[in-house]
């Protein structure tokens, strides 16, 4: 065995693309390099692979950590897909139902990932030490041409439009975009919004800007970019999204499924998925009409979460003392703002005996209990 002692290994041009067994060992090629959570689109706690309509008026999360909005005259659906490039199991697919062939200036359809400030603090954006980052992703569309996206800060008053070209229809292609960090503007470094990565699906001129430079405007795509919502039946798939420090796109960071799920659960936690017979906890009767249970989160959530409970007649059931009570929903009780635990209760339909203990479940295929601390 030989030992090589050297201070640097560079490529033939003196750069940092040297490979060892096919891998590029850059300084940033380490665990946690990918600031995107669920970049491989594998976690879908909310919809479990079901197709949903992209909403108008407000953005909504579909698969974990990815949200979308469609404020055009067309319609879009979004769904986790098993169509994926080699090395991936899933992608996120948008499909146009009804097209909007003439977008007004202020109309917009987009897909977005918001990175928490803590996870970009080291990039030092908004300072003279701002680091360069590289975005890489796989895309596939029934359309070809130039597509657009953008990076923005939390307030969307700093933006960097970028473009990429899809050359062949219905073919996976990997794209990379390198961006010099923004040296001005305010970039969140705490539990709030840090950096948003946008992919335009049809963006009017008001929100489209010139690629390749930072702006004080709210640009979410590139001027002249292809509109996915502009063509009936058009599809747009994306996966393998990575945002990392440095000027080189390194191999996609593979994290264990459980690790990726835990990262997602900081922002959204499903206690009971939409199904019947799902346990929702052991609860106790404070009095004859007040049933409560405490829910501990598997990981500390980003903020104290909103309790999101399906509400319908007899959607939930409590088994106690040889009998049972049905009730319509779980509600969050007042109390301390906690990111670790929450008390949920019902006092509108419950009729039991104070001091009794019950095991509780969903009692309808449409019932669920979720916790939301998204950005």
């Amino acid at each position: 065995m030989s030992t090589i002692k050297t201070n640097a290994i560079l490529d033939a041009s003196g750069g940092n693309t040297t490979t060892i067994n096919g891998a590029t060992p850059t300084a940033y090629n380490t665990m946690g390099k990918n600031r995107i959570i669920n970049g491989a689109m594998e976690i879908d706690q909310r919809n479990a692979g079901a197709s949903v309509t992209v909403p108008t008026g407000n953005d909504a999360y579909n698969i974990d950590r990815w949200n979308a909005q469609n404020d055009t005259d067309g319609t879009l659906t979004v769904q986790q897909s098993t169509t994926a490039p080699a090395g991936f199991r899933n992608s996120l697919v948008f499909t146009t139902g009804t097209a909007d062939t003439s977008l007004a200036a202020g109309q917009i359809a987009f897909c977005r990932h918001i990175i928490e400030g803590y996870n970009i603090a080291d990039l030092a954006w908004g300072t003279s030490d701002a680091k360069t980052i590289t975005i890489s992703f796989w895309v596939r569309s029934s359309l070809t041409g130039t597509f657009g996206g953008s990076l923005t800060n939390g307030d969307n008053n700093r933006s960097y439009p970028f473009s990429y070209t899809i050359s062949s229809a219905n073919t996976w292609e990997q794209k990379t975009v390198t961006v010099a960090g923004d040296t001005t503007g305010t970039w969140g470094v705490g539990t709030g919004r840090g950096l948003s990565l946008w992919f335009g699906l049809g963006v009017g001129s008001t929100y489209s800007g010139t690629v390749g430079s930072w702006s004080g405007s709210s640009y979410f795509s590139a001027t002249g970019a292809t509109s996915v919502v502009g063509t009936n039946g058009a599809t747009f798939y994306i996966t393998g999204v990575q945002l990392e420090a440095g000027s080189v796109a390194t191999e996609f960071e593979r994290r264990p499924y459980g690790t990726e799920l835990a990262l997602c659960q900081r922002y959204y936690f499903v206690l009971a998925p939409k199904a019947t017979l799902q346990p929702t906890g052991v609860a106790s009767y404070y009095n004859n009409t007040y049933l409560a249970t405490n829910v501990s989160f598997p990981t500390t959530m980003r903020s104290s979460p909103t309790v999101v409970s399906a509400s319908g007649t007899d959607y939930f059931i409590a088994y106690r003392a040889g009998s049972s009570d049905t009730f319509n929903s779980w509600t969050r009780d007042s109390g301390a703002v906690s990111q670790q635990m929450v008390e949920i209760y019902n006092n509108t339909e419950i009729s039991g005996t104070g001091g009794q203990v019950a095991t509780t479940r969903t009692n309808n295929a449409s019932a669920f209990v979720h916790f939301n601390a998204e950005l």
């Binding site: 404070y286 903020s303 979460p305 309790v307 999101v308 509400s311 009780d333 007042s334 703002v337 601390a373």
Partner: protein
């Protein structure tokens, strides 16, 4: 529509509820919670929630 919620146990009001399409959202008064931020924006537009019972 938003409706303020008073705790049975402590009598405090630190949650606001919202029902939308068969989904009940119970939103804590946490400034970091984006649903609470939306509620504050709704208030700032001059709206008023239903009072707590």
């Amino acid at each position: 529509m938003y409706k303020l919620h008073r705790s049975i146990l402590t009598n405090e009001i630190s949650v606001v509820n919202k029902i939308d399409d068969g989904v009940l959202m119970s939103i804590p008064f946490d400034p970091a919670n984006t649903d609470y931020q939306e509620y504050l924006e709704w208030l700032a537009e001059g709206n008023t929630p239903e009072p707590a019972e």
